[in-house]
Amino acid sequence: MNTATLTRTPSARGPRLLTRTLASEWSKLWSVRSTWWCLASAAVLMVLSTLTLGGAHSTDIANHNVPEKTFEASEAVVSATTFVQFALIAMAMLVITSEYGSGLIRATFQATPVRGRVLAAKAMVLAPVMFVAGVVTGGIATAVEYLLLSLDAFGGSIRVTPAGTVADLCTTGVYFALVSLLTVGLGAAMRSAAGTLTAAFMLVMGLPLTLAMSGSQVALDISMRMPMFAGLAFMGSTDNLTGGRIPYSSAEGLAWLVAWAVLGLVAGHIVLRRRDA
């Protein structure tokens, strides 16, 4: 027989195979520029929107428009996620749609024909990266915000407490991780970048906002269970943007987010298995 048979290593199984797919997906993620662009955009967006939101809060306090006297710097990070998430959604989306767009997906499935393992590996690589992205960009934004807004000119109402900062940054990271899982699942189901971005935007923000503003109680209740409000609840915000409150706890918010992520991944997996690549 040929040399291939002679030099073959003993066949790998189960966890070993997943480790290899993970290593492959990890090197794919970091070998394209779009990943770095998305992360850089997320960082810039995070710093700018945190500053803006924190600045507005300082002004409100200085003008006695709100009852509180001081505010936690990292709260602005939580509000900023609404904008920042789209840079990270783009990154999660590209992990799968760029493969369909270029035809690379065929090489990927030739190398790893168990398609569920490919999707799992993409998800398992994205989730921790997104978590770290949330913590790091949020941390930088909090620091910058605090340094600027603690100047006397802004009234000195900003504060930083270790417990509050850690909680806000961690929940932000988890929120980004879960939204990216939803996105990568949608990407596997839709395949095209345009379709995935539209679907992700509608699910995460478009629909919840539209429903919340519609005035119907049923629509409001549904919207509160969609990723945007579930995320805000989970991250400790209570404002439902229509003057009311999000009617459930942070833990329930997390549960809804996890449900959305699972739904996205299951939908993606079903399509991956059924359709020709």
Partner: protein, 301 residues
């Protein structure tokens, strides 16, 4: 070994691959021929599990593709040279593939060397020319040092040196005992490289035979005789049921009979021969005859 068992693919109402059953020989170059749209690429995609057969099955060494644990070490395939992320370097592309199948990373440098991509492997794949992408695709197929190789139109976009290189590569892969399954529209290339041919048309199997047999069976493969008694020989051959065509006063062409038979008939008739030789059809001619009825997307001539 690749075995197709009643392999069928339907897209909507259209049957694109119809009940193909054959096995692809080990240690030989098998050419996969057929007009545009015959179903060659579809068949190859089903072999590597990318498209699901509508009926029938494919196995590789007895296993369906999805059950092979390290498929790149078993079968390497070049299906579409452009199937690379345009923003990733060829090198990084191969590294990711190698990692997925536990292939040592030194293989990446080795196969890049083999295909002669060199420094271009560090460039974005989107900046490679078609010929260079083709080489990168071949490198990916060779990465796992597999016993089976499958190429869909590998010389597409290659310059003459490249074409010759691919011919040599396929020969040497087969000579090392590997199975090579390659589709092409370049009949002259195939005639030089292939040992065996599989010809399909409109998704159906037309021929599965050694190259020599395909050529021998062609009506254009004939025996040419030069004789001063061409008229006499012609009538004897016709009487024996052999097709005859007069080329000139002293020359005729007999089709549908082996050279020995023509020689014997001439001897019995006492006809003096000045020359008796076999004129082989080219693969191009043989192929043309085989697929005449099954060209689906042809320009009117």
């Amino acid at each position: 070994m690749i075995s197709l068992n009643g392999l069928t693919k339907r897209y909507g109402d259209k049957i694109v691959v119809s009940d193909l059953s054959l096995s692809i020989k080990t240690g030989a170059v098998t050419g996969f021929l057929g007009p545009n749209g015959a179903g060659k690429s579809t068949t190859m995609r089903m072999i590597v599990g990318l498209d699901r057969p509508s009926a029938g099955s494919v196995t590789i060494g007895g296993l369906p593709y999805a059950r092979i644990t390290e498929p790149l070490r078993t079968i390497g395939a070049l299906l579409d040279a452009r199937a690379v992320h345009p923003g990733r370097s060829g090198h990084a592309h191969l590294v990711a593939l190698a990692r997925s199948n536990g292939i040592p990373l030194r293989r990446v440098a080795e196969v890049l060397e083999t295909v002669g991509l060199g420094a271009a492997a560090r460039k974005r794949a989107g900046a490679l020319s078609l010929g260079m992408s083709q080489r990168l695709g071949i490198a990916a197929a060779l990465l796992g040092d597999p016993g089976i190789l499958m190429f869909d139109e590998p010389v597409n976009g290659l310059d003459t040196d490249g074409v010759r290189w691919v011919r040599g590569l396929m020969r040497s892969l087969a000579d090392e005992g590997r199975t090579v399954f390659v589709s092409s529209h370049l009949m002259s290339e195939m005639q030089l490289t292939a040992d065996h041919l599989v010809v399909i048309g409109k998704g159906r199997l037309i021929m599965d035979a050694p190259l020599t047999e395909v050529i021998a069976r062609s009506s254009l493969t004939a025996v040419v005789a030069r004789t001063p008694h061409a008229g006499e020989l012609a009538s004897r051959l016709t009487a024996a049921g052999i097709g005859v065509e007069r080329l000139g006063e002293n020359e005729l062409v007999a089709t549908g009979a082996a050279i020995e038979r023509v020689g014997d008939i001439a001897h019995e008739a006492g006809v003096r021969l000045h020359e008796l030789r076999t004129r082989e059809a080219s693969l191009e001619q043989a192929y043309q005859e085989l697929t005449e009825g099954s060209v689906e997307y042809g320009a009117r001539t």
